[in-house]
């Protein structure tokens, strides 16, 4: 009887020891997907013209590494939909500000049918609506200074408000 009791205690201790240690894990990617639309105002040019910007829709992926969850890399596919269409992309680096905010900046380009290249800065705020889904509200500032769609000596600035949905994948 004492032998059985001793073996039982030994087995319990072994289980406890195994459950207390976690197996080593490789770094993991934390990936999210987002979709949104934006519009706003734009200006620049020789006469300082200001007008409404073209509406732009964006599909994006953001990637973080669990070891450094504050660093975010964002890649987006952009499409201007009205009044004339165009397709482009953006590449950004961002930093998490708390649990819900991201401040990011990077390069942005419209690639077809005309080209337009510039830089962007975005503050994105995420409002949770489900465990893995958030509404995103993102004021954005863009500056374009290169491209075949730009008259000589012209730079364009844009201020947009982007709204959309994001999900942890």
């Amino acid at each position: 009887m004492r032998q059985v009791y001793g073996r039982s205690v030994g087995a319990l201790l072994a289980v406890a020891a195994l459950s207390a240690t976690r197996p080593a894990e490789a770094q993991q990617y934390l990936i999210g997907g987002a979709a949104g639309a934006s519009s706003g105002i734009e200006g620049g040019g020789p006469q300082g013209t200001m007008a409404m910007t073209r509406t732009r829709v964006r599909l994006a992926v953001d990637v973080r590494i669990d070891e450094n969850p504050s660093d975010v890399f964002l890649v987006g596919l952009d499409a201007e939909v009205t009044p004339t269409s165009g397709i482009g992309a953006d590449l950004r680096y961002g930093r998490m500000l708390g649990d819900r905010g991201i401040l990011s900046g990077g390069i942005l380009g419209i690639l077809a049918p005309w080209t337009l290249y510039g830089a962007c800065a975005v503050f994105e705020y995420r409002i949770p609506i489900a465990q893995r889904v958030q509404i995103t509200v993102a004021p954005e500032g863009d500056v374009f200074f290169l491209g075949t769609d730009l008259p000589d000596g012209t730079a364009i600035w844009q201020f947009r408000l982007n709204g959309g949905l994001r999900a942890d994948l």
Binding site: A37, S39, E42, G44, G45, M52, I127, V137, P151, G163
Partner: protein
């Protein structure tokens, strides 16, 4: 309550996007522009305004070449410089009057 606020923000952002799309309309034919593609086909963006593209000058003077004496002047108009063309026309008129004088004499 939080969800209600969230959807309000989302609807507001979407409304801004839609209003922006409605305000833009098709490309300008005459109006302010920031990009070449802001202007309609056949127009270009110059000094912040859409302007008609310059129409290329048609090649040839327009005559069919049936009139011999007038053609001398008209053909001169095909040359790159306008002044020689006018001179050629005047020379042809002078030659015509000289021939008429010689015939009358």
């Amino acid at each position: 309550m939080r969800t209600c606020k969230s959807w309000t923000v989302a609807v507001g952002a979407f409304a801004v996007a839609v209003l922006g799309a409605m305000a833009c309309g098709p490309g300008w034919t005459a109006g302010p522009c920031l990009r070449y593609s802001d202007c309609a086909t056949g127009y270009t963006c110059a000094d912040g305004m859409c302007e008609p593209l310059p129409i290329p000058e048609p090649e040839g003077g327009g005559d069919d070449g049936s009139s011999s004496e007038q053609d001398t002047g008209t053909d001169g108009a095909k040359s790159d410089s306008a002044a020689p063309a006018k001179d050629a026309g005047h020379d042809a008129a002078d030659a015509k009057s000289a021939i008429a004088d010689a015939t009358a004499g």
